[in-house]
């Protein structure tokens, strides 16, 4: 079977410290006083996994485990500090749906901008724009500035645009529940379609039921380290055990 994605001993670092939002003046002063502290924080350490064609990999872990950071490296937004990630195929990530929209632009303008960000072509957007409007049920708000829409409506639009992707590697980060009851059902159905159509998928979710239902292997991260990688049922059981005893022991 073809390998779609291969991560070998990947470590990703963040910089932390009091360097954010300071000016040149402050920066110079702190350097002069030797009070400028920047630390490198390893968000992900030595993680390896392989994604084969047809695979659906679930990533589990508590908050701060490094799940989102790992995904950022997979999509190429961040660069691993050590190790490397080999991709063969186009990647689309449906991350944090609400962000990246511009409140001053209309629904139509935002839809096109988002489409462009996801790598769609203009022709594709022209073709599917009507469909997006219908699916998101936002036709009557088409020319409204985006900031006048409710949060639910915004994520409905985001989902409707994102759900058109047909990538070879699909990355889903906690996006499967959007909008109110009726729309949630609709989006869950659409999601299944995408997953079934995609060649390989990575799913990050806190819902173990969802992971158990759809993934064929699971990667468990804890504080940036790889705790386990393997069969869904086995890893999920161990993870559940760990969650039950959380606060008492480290894995």
């Amino acid at each position: 079977m073809k390998t779609m994605l291969k991560a070998e001993h990947v470590s990703i670092s963040y910089k932390i410290g009091d360097f954010k939002d300071i000016g040149l003046k402050e920066w110079t002063m702190r350097h002069l006083k030797h009070q400028y502290h920047v630390e490198t924080f390893m968000a992900v350490q030595d993680v390896s996994f392989e994604l084969l064609e047809g695979d659906m990999l679930g990533i589990v872990g508590t908050n701060g485990a490094g799940k989102s950071t790992l995904l950022k490296a997979v999509t190429g937004v961040m660069e691993p500090r050590e190790g490397h990630i080999q991709r063969s195929g186009s990647i689309a990530a449906l991350l944090e749906l609400g962000s990246g929209f511009d409140g001053d632009l209309t629904v139509r303008e935002n839809a096109y901008l988002r489409g462009a960000m996801l790598g769609y072509t203009k022709e594709f957007m022209d073709e599917t724009y009507e469909h997006i409007l219908d699916f998101s049920e936002l036709r009557e708000f088409e020319e409204r500035p985006f900031k006048q829409l409710s949060t639910g409506m915004q994520s409905r639009l985001a989902f409707s645009i994102a759900s058109l992707v047909q990538p070879e590697i699909l990355i889903l980060d906690e996006v499967l529940s959007v909008g109110d009851g009726a729309f949630q059902e609709k989006s869950a159905k659409k999601m299944r379609e995408i997953i079934d159509g995609g060649a390989a998928t990575i799913l990050v979710s806190h819902s173990l039921a969802q992971i158990r239902a759809s993934c064929n292997k699971v990667l468990w991260l804890h504080k940036g380290r790889q705790v386990d990688l393997g069969e869904t049922a086995a890893v999920c059981d161990r993870y559940e055990e760990f969650l039950a005893g959380l606060g008492r022991t480290d894995p």
Binding site: F19, K20, I22, L24, V77, E79, G115, A116, K122, M125
Partner: protein, 255 residues
């Protein structure tokens, strides 16, 4: 880079549209405003300085306009460009896109502004009795140099702005200084030859001088002059491109 640009052509055009829409959406006069504002500026300067310098300089209004034209393109492009990276943090921390696209798209709207003001400038020259000759087409050369130069400075500033949020104020002061050193409303004839040569160290002055030489003097600048104009542009662009390349994956930590 060009290949990547082609690949992201749709995103680029959408970004240009967005920057344009945001810039003009809430003003009644819309785009006209971006022409009116430099013209008002010009009028004020002319009223103030015409008595002082007008008698010694041929076509003083045009002399002033040439300076104002180049300088306002520079400040417009760099001031708007400075925020282009930090302002799009929501995008580049989520999607893997070339980060320079944001600055490029911002510069397109500045360039269009400049183009419109340039048309007004040409109509002024005609009105002032300066004949339109083939030499005017040579102005394409400094325009191209200025585009590259402004993009280069924009790259540098937008990168610095991510690291140091007080760049905005520092740049405000620096542009004031550059303005005074660019001989926009005065002439440098009364200075010694050495000092006159020192003025050429200021890229802005060089580009302004090119415009004045062609339009007012009807003369073609020397070869060295051309080389210097291109050199400034390439150096600025080179430094900017280097910073973007070097800090490409670092920007993320600072936003």
């Amino acid at each position: 880079m060009l290949q990547k640009l082609k690949q992201h052509r749709f995103l680029f055009s959408e970004l240009v549209k967005r920057d344009f829409a945001k810039k003009y959406k809430r003003t009644i006069l819309g785009m006209a405003w971006s022409i009116i504002s430099p013209l008002m500026n010009l009028l004020i300067m002319w009223l103030v300085f015409n008595n002082l310098f007008g008698n010694n300089v041929d076509h003083y209004a045009i002399y002033l306009f040439a300076g104002q034209l180049v300088f306002s393109y520079f400040t417009d492009a760099t001031n708007l460009g400075m925020n282009s990276l930090a302002g799009n943090a929501g995008i580049f921390t989520k999607v893997n896109v070339p980060k320079y696209l944001f600055l490029f798209s911002q510069n397109v709207s500045s360039l269009i502004n400049f183009g419109l003001t340039l048309l007004v400038f040409f109509s002024f020259t005609a009105f002032d009795g300066i004949p339109f000759t083939w030499k005017f087409f040579l102005l394409l050369y400094p325009v191209v140099c200025m585009i590259v130069f402004n993009v280069g400075i924009g790259l540098i500033l937008s990168a610095l702005f991510v690291f140091f949020r007080d760049m905005q104020y520092l740049w405000g002061i620096l542009t004031q200084l550059i303005m005074w050193l660019s001989a926009i409303f005065y002439t440098i004839d009364s200075y010694s030859y050495t000092v006159q040569c020192l003025f050429l160290l200021n890229p802005l002055y060089l580009y302004i001088r090119y415009f004045r030489k062609i339009v007012i003097d009807g003369a073609i600048p020397t070869l060295e002059f051309h080389l210097l104009a291109a050199a400034y542009a390439l150096v600025a662009f080179g430094i900017g491109a280097f910073m973007y390349k070097k800090y490409n994956h670092e920007f993320l930590y600072y936003v």
